[in-house]
């Protein structure tokens, strides 16, 4: 029997790798991929708690489904934006997109 803390640790590691990617990668596709990774780590948590958590029940799995749905939608819209952005500004380097500047 694998203890739940290992699942949680794995999720934490994946989450932090994803976070690191979001914060430092310059390729917009990779940034999006990192976000998916982070969502995934959340899913691991949900499923782990649903299966072997202190109050294990089915809700965690249902929520995982929702998260996956959202992730799919997010990936679709995100990539669409990415393509539009690339068409307009001819780059997908994060550094070059700083329109939020003051």
């Amino acid at each position: 029997m694998v203890p739940i803390s290992l699942f949680l640790s794995l999720a934490a590691i994946l989450f932090c790798i994803g976070l690191y990617g979001v914060l430092t990668r310059r390729h917009l596709v990779i940034v999006l991929a990192s976000i998916e990774l982070m969502l995934n780590s959340v899913n691991i948590n949900l499923v782990a708690f649903s299966a072997i958590g202190p109050f294990a029940n089915i809700s965690g799995q249902v929520f995982t489904l929702f998260v996956i749905t959202v992730a799919a939608a997010e990936a679709a819209v995100g990539l669409a934006i990415l393509i539009a952005l690339y068409r307009n500004r001819n780059s997908i380097d994060v550094i070059k997109h700083d329109l939020l500047r003051w």
Partner: protein, 164 residues
């Protein structure tokens, strides 16, 4: 050290290594492939936890749909360019790493300092999921349906070439 543990370690290593490779590999296409493997490993973990339905969904959506989407996204943009040259934001890299590492430390500390009793795995059947989904979470289910629809239309509208 039972079988489950061995499987867990193998799958976890695959997931972590592939995740690291997403960050570390040079070619963008390699990275996407690495991402697919990472997702695949996670699906394996779901099976390990007895959540077969979620595992299958994970394989279908992540490994199948989303990865394909990424490949399209990659192909329609700068997939030939390997890198953007040296990063001008040295501090960003270091601080990003430090921040993520510290967070990881905090999380691990939190996880291992928690007292979580390990119980018999609860096996969630598809039936149970179906009952919850179409019962208690029905509104949320409808909502996610709307979300997907609008995301579909939205993605089309956004990505479409602007015509005069």
């Amino acid at each position: 050290m039972n079988t489950q543990m061995i499987f867990f370690i193998i799958l976890a290593l695959i997931a972590i290594v592939c995740a690291v490779l997403i960050m570390a590999l040079e070619r963008i296409s390699h990275r996407v492939v690495s991402m697919a493997f990472s997702f695949f490993a996670v699906a394996g973990l779901y099976f390990l936890l007895g959540a077969e339905f979620i595992g299958i969904i994970q394989v279908m959506v992540y490994v199948g749909a989303i990865t394909i989407l990424f490949v399209f996204g990659m192909m329609m943009t700068e997939h030939r360019n390997v890198g953007f040259g040296p990063d001008p934001r040295k501090g960003q890299q270091i601080l990003g790493f430090l921040g993520a590492a510290t967070l990881l430390g905090v999380l691990l500390y939190g996880i291992f300092s928690m007292d979580l009793p390990t119980e018999q795995p609860y096996v969630g059947t598809v039936e149970a999921i179906g009952l919850e989904l179409y019962g208690h979470y029905f509104i949320a289910f409808l909502g996610s349906g709307f979300l997907l629809t609008s995301a579909l239309i939205g993605a089309v509208v956004i990505a479409r070439k602007e015509v005069e």
